[in-house]
Amino acid sequence: MIKSIIAGSFGLFFAWNVWAGIGNFLGIQNQRLQLGLDLTVLGWFVILLDVFAPILLFVAAILVGRKLSRWAFAGVLLLALLLVAVINLDLVLGVPVSAMFATGAAS
């Protein structure tokens, strides 16, 4: 019971990251269509991973922490949330926009 409350509380933050990832996905699609450009393989990878990384890490944290004590369970979820923050920033800030759009000559 308490563990599900812990999981739910942390889950809100993971869900926020998924939501923000969907926002980024739609924003990039919007830009892409307005510019009339396709995305590079890296670009697709980035915007899809931005959505799915929080989900995957949340599930992984639940599986790893399931049999641990409450505190360890919360610790594993916190660690996963920190990693989500790192990965999200890697994708949002760490990938140059020019590498995401298949601009052809106009790079």
Partner: protein
């Protein structure tokens, strides 16, 4: 310290540990364990394990109670752990610089607050992964290094390299 040259070869607190004043000193635990006979049986395996762990984590040539081979191996482990600690420190500083430059102003206040929170969570990730690796590899040393290596790969501060650097 009778000889100042030896001072450079010692870690701070070595002497206290040799005298049994350290936190994981053997006599202390025995005193605690002998309070009740029932807990004695439980405490003894912990005691033995604790001593072994201590030798792995903090190896000092003078206090090493294990064999010479395990002492050398634990020295290597200590050095490698220290190298990883340096890498994690550098990465954390890079994330800190990224966070302090606060790159994006998002119009939505909640979104902005969450983004800034994410920046600081990324700063905290380095120390957290390091600590978690040490905890995960408590009983098996190779687990510690696999965790540290994988964590270092994840924690590479790409925003620092491509944007904030």
């Amino acid at each position: 310290m009778d000889n100042t040259d030896d001072e450079a070869l010692n870690w701070a607190g070595d002497e206290a540990r040799q005298r049994g004043g350290g936190t994981w000193s053997v006599p202390k635990r025995r005193e605690g364990a002998s309070l009740s006979p029932s807990s004695d049986k439980v405490a003894v395996p912990e005691l033995v394990e604790g001593v072994k762990l201590t030798d792995q984590v903090v190896s000092t040539p003078s206090t090493g109670s294990g064999t010479a081979g395990s002492g050398a191996a634990s020295s290597v482990a200590l050095v490698v752990t220290g190298i990883f600690a340096g890498i994690y420190l550098l990465f954390t500083v890079a994330w800190l610089i990224t966070a302090l430059r606060d790159p994006i102003q998002i119009a939505d206040p909640l979104g902005n607050a969450m983004f800034i929170a994410g920046l600081w969570l990324a700063v905290a990730a380095g120390p957290a992964v390091f600590a978690a690796s040490l905890m995960a590899g408590r009983s098996r040393l190779w687990v510690r290094f696999v965790c540290l290596f994988a964590g270092a790969l994840v924690l590479i501060p790409w925003p620092y390299f491509t944007w904030a650097g």
